[in-house]
Symmetry: C2
């Protein structure tokens, strides 16, 4: 028996009882033996489909996604085990975040910067000369003031854009699409670097505790990114629960340590640090002093980069979204400010110097100096490592959302806008993970190496967002526009200055790379946009036809390699869609051609056979030329090429079959007026 | 206008004038303006096709291969520039080899072994202690005697198998298919190693002249393999001409040097070498003396491996093939014997010791000692390098031919049996090149490292071939069977002993790898064979039907993503092959579904639309489930899924489109009773 069922002679009447597209008919089953007929009433839509509200509508149930047969069953099972069962769209509302969870998810980026911000400041200052380390605290204070300004600005932005206050949206809306794309490009790069920086800093917190693992840090970082990716592919809710514990643990532990340290310093239990005379900076370096201070400031400004995260994620909060997001933003800023200034104060007062090899973090040295190598150190380092590694999650919440906005607007491939079965933007999550892993490998998971790439992009986005708000206030002049304008104006000015300082002072350390990458990425986004736009215009219909359309009757040809069941099935199908299907045998072997021509009348009856001899042994060229020749006779009729392929039972069998069919399909795909009908043959033995 | 031409309303009559499959009709052309009609008589078969001798037969001309339009034009041009225009099958006879060319092509492997054979003997002897070096000459003599025996044996094999006397064929024919496959596996491995060894030795000849390039030897080797590959893809004739010069240059130069050296030693101009007293081997090594002598012999036996090459290539000679091949074999053996013994004699008499670093070859040291660093050294090294690098070509002639035999018998994928446009076995040539490059990289292009892999496989094949001849003589008892049996019996015994010696003495140096690989490769070949056999049985037809066959009328469905020209074209095609084609729109967006349902009646008229809502956002699962539900209503009818895809204009556009269609196609390919019709949409703007 042939796998393509009910192959009949031309004299038989093919079964052409109409099927019911809405699945409401009674099904007829016939028993195995003749005369064994019975009728069974089945309503398939009750099982896998529900009836929709409107006529001609069916709603798929979870079964259609989960219950797959055949070779994909195991992949499906593994996938369900890995990322969980699909989530119904109605549950989306329930997956929203409370303020408590929102703080954990979106501010872990911001708050966790306190773990490495002071270190990065002092690391640059130390290169100017250890004497400069006294500037750590003033610089931290300056950055905190900036944070206050930016936070105030963003509170306004969130209120104005409750559906997502991403710099991309604010800038596109008020400054035009080009500056919007600039903001988007800067942010996309920023998010990728966030993941790399946070994970690297988290691993550094671990190496401070266990110096032996230092040489595995790249591998550990990559594994961590993969785990975070998996968590995010599972969807929002679970990740919220996962991320609450470390964030709050870090806040509690660090507030305790800062409080304890400040108290001991205040009550004189720890003597204030006085720089020894040999700490005097050497002459040559002093010339570069101001420049290095600017660089130190730039490195510290990384601490502000987390602010954008909450604004971008407004729609993920429970309603009222903008109010909850605003409150969360304010709390995150306050917690961060206390920790950041507190840690910087302790670094300065305890005279902690950065470790050149990046094995021990400055924060770990502070804790070590305050409490020794005891339980507190272990708890502090574990909490730090966890919040840092999980801070990368902020980007996993924001990058996919931003890329879905971009895809929706046609700047990225449409896959980025598609929510997976778990309501997560699968493509964005995977893309972000791969790029972050690339960065981790290239930069050997070094925080100091990565940070220069980081701050510039985020501050460009800040500046554009604030400038957008400025334009918006000015254009609308709604109630209270004057103070609003003033706040966003100040925000725009401050962030613009920082962007310039960061770009110039870190130019050779890495911001050149951002300055090169942002325009490339912009060109990429805009190229995709142009493609989609022209394509959509080209595909749109000028007028709506009045009736159903029918193409000219196709010319149907069946390339036949040899006389077997596969060819027979293809010919049977070709005859079912055309009364004049034509078999074509291309061969380089005249004897073989004779043999086939001889057997043909017995084998395929009235179906006509043309043998094309190919003395140059090529198969595809002569077949295409033959199709061209047929086409010249009937330029209006499409040509259907019926290809039959054996379905392999094992993956490796693909190498033994169908290679020619695959090449032919690729060529035919580009031929105009050509349709390829693929008739798979399933072996029945 | 739609790219799929002549889309008509259902009320129109589609053009269904029958096309002439033999291209002999007159074509009608219509002018651009109405009423501008004219008729032009065209006989397309005169241009791209010729009429064949039999009815229903066309013969493709070179135009069908060369004149391709569109995106492949440039690839075609580059390919023609690289490997030349296609060769007509009738020219195959003219591409055959004379004895002079045959000696150059098939014996370069054999003769060139004289360049490294003596070196490999002395290299092993030197590890036993320099005193053992005096054994170089006796071992070379022993190997020459063996060569004589093997050559006599193979002269008989060639006569018995004039269509190709490969060990695979001889063993399969007389000893059964399993031992045939064993011979084939051993030979395939041997050929790959031949390429690696010859190229490595050729590069070593170069580094002897220019020691600075020693560190680039892997890169140089790989580039050389690629060049040889290209030469072979161009076909036999050119490669014959290329390879004549270096082979004969090497023979002339080396005969000259050997003659000159022997003369000088004989006439006492060079004092005979007397080993100094410190050359006495130390005690500990003497225990392993015999074992090391066996290893040295094994390494030297590599010199015989070239004999198989000529036997395998018999059909490439001009007729009478077997006589020409036999004569060539004898000449190759004589030339080789003179050079091999001569060089070994000089090595022994001049007291040349191998260089531990493999930078200077022993042969180059001999020439240096005889003639100094002058012109002769340069000429000798260049000739040696050329013949060695080109000796790899022997494998390029034989490996593809052997793999085509294996493919013809179903032991390798069928692509290996397909002759490319230049009459070369393209797949075999490329496969051999890639594997040889892999070996060169793994073994850092070291001759001594590669040789242990080499000899064992070839001697297994020798033994099987000779044993096969033995059985053949015994079974047939033709005229002169007694001396024939004696000669092949001696050959089988000698080669079997060598195979065992090589396998045991080199076990840890590399023959273990061959002993592991040969069974794996055999299992691989036999697995493919089993697959093809069962498949062919399953696909064969039990009975021949009497008339043309027609499958049951298919159910035709068109997944519609949105309402645009692409969808319209697909629906038009679906309506042209079925009166009840059904459009299906799967969506996760209820609003979108409403919009489409509302526009539908105006847009597609009587074609029915079913909307499947998918709250879990999956597209493919619900579509497949829907197809299953339809199928349950009519289990006998195949389902045709009409997919429309935009044909990208640039390769990168593939990433922006058709991703879902591709995944859907992969899934549908495995669904039973399902046909995918691919309707490409070509943008017309």
């Amino acid at each position: 028996m042939l796998p393509l069922r009910a192959v009949t002679r031309s004299s038989d009447t093919p079964d052409s009882g109409r099927v019911d597209p809405l699945l409401e008919v009674r099904e007829k089953h016939r028993g195995r033996r003749p005369g064994d007929a019975y009728v069974k009433i089945v309503r398939p839509f009750e099982e896998e489909f529900q009836r929709g509200d409107d006529a001609g509508e069916l709603i798929a149930t979870e079964k259609t996604v989960l219950q797959r047969r055949g070779w994909t069953t195991n992949i499906r099972r593994f996938r369900t085990w890995l990322i969980g069962r699909p989530i119904h769209r109605d549950r989306e509302e329930h997956e929203r975040l409370t303020k408590t969870k929102g703080l954990a998810i979106f501010s872990s980026d911001n708050i966790s910067s306190s773990a490495y911000g002071p270190e990065e400041i002092s690391r640059v200052l130390a290169t100017a000369g250890v004497g400069y380390l006294v500037l750590t605290l003033p610089l931290a204070g300056l950055i905190t003031v900036m944070l206050a300004i930016v936070t105030l600005s963003y509170r306004q932005t969130i209120k104005a854009y409750p559906k997502g206050a991403s710099s991309y949206i604010v800038a596109s809306d008020n400054l035009g699409s080009t500056l919007g794309v600039l903001a988007a490009a800067a942010l996309l790069i920023g998010y990728v670097v966030t993941v790399a920086v946070s994970v690297s800093a988290g691993v550094a917190a671990m190496t401070s505790l266990l110096p032996d693992i230092e040489r595995y840090k790249v591998v550990i970082s990559v594994v961590l990114v993969l785990l975070i990716m998996l968590g995010n592919l599972r969807g929002i809710r679970e990740s919220g629960t996962i991320f609450m514990i470390p964030t709050y643990a870090y806040i509690v532990v660090m507030l305790g340590i800062v409080g304890y340290g400040v108290a001991r310093v205040t009550f004189g239990e720890v003597p204030a640090f006085v720089p020894p005379p040999e700490w005097e900076p050497v002459e040559a370096v002093q010339v570069f002093g101001l420049f290095l201070i600017l660089r130190a400031f730039s490195q510290g400004a990384v601490a502000l980069t987390g602010v954008e995260a909450i604004s971008d994620g407004v729609p993920a909060f429970k309603p009222p979204e903008w109010k909850n997001a605003r409150t969360t933003l304010t709390w995150a800023a306050i917690v961060f400010a206390i920790l950041f200034v507190g840690i910087a104060y302790l670094v300065a007062r305890l005279g902690v110097q950065p470790d050149g090899s990046e094995t021990y973090t400055v924060l770990s040295l502070v804790v070590r100096q305050l409490t020794g190598e005891g339980v507190v150190l272990v708890v502090a380092q574990v909490a730090t490592a966890l919040i840092l590694v999980l801070a990368a999650n902020t980007s996993f919440a924001d990058f996919p959302r931003l890329s879905s906005f971009l895809a929706r607007d046609g700047y990225l491939p449409r896959q980025f806008a598609f929510r997976g079965e778990r309501l997560a933007f699968t493509t964005g999550i995977v893309a972000l993970s791969l790029m972050a892993i690339g960065l981790l490998i290239v930069f050997r998971a070094s925080v100091s190496g990565l940070i220069p790439l980081y701050t510039l992009g985020v501050f460009i986005a800040f500046t554009l967002s604030q400038s957008g708000m400025l334009v918006r206030w000015w254009r609308r002049r709604e109630e209270g526009w004057r103070p609003g304008l003033a706040i966003n104006g100040l925000g725009a000015a401050v962030t613009a200055v920082v962007a310039i300082v960061v770009g110039v002072s870190n130019f050779f350390q890495g911001s050149w790379l951002v300055i090169v990458l942002v325009p490339i990425l912009m060109a990429f986004l805009m190229g995709i946009h142009r493609h989609y736009t022209t394509q959509d215009q080209a595909l749109a219909l000028d007028h709506i036809p009045e009736k159903a359309e029918v193409a000219a009757k196709p010319i149907v040809i069946v390339p036949v390699a040899r006389l077997d069941r596969v060819a027979r099935q293809a010919i049977a199908f070709a005859n079912s869609i055309s009364p004049e299907a034509l078999a074509v045998h291309v061969t380089n072997d005249a004897a073989d051609a004779d043999a086939i021509r001889e057997r043909w009348p017995d084998w395929a009856g009235s179906t006509e056979l043309v043998v094309v001899e190919s003395p140059y042994r090529a198969l595809i060229g002569p077949l295409l030329a033959y199709m061209d020749a047929l086409q010249r006779q009937a330029p209006d009729r499409p040509i259907v090429v019926v290809l039959s392929e054996v379905v392999p039972r094992h993956w490796w069998e693909n190498f033994l079959h169908n290679q020619t069919a695959l090449r032919l399909k690729l060529r035919l795909f580009r031929r105009k007026n050509t349709i390829v009908a693929d008739v798979p043959y399933h072996r029945v033995d």
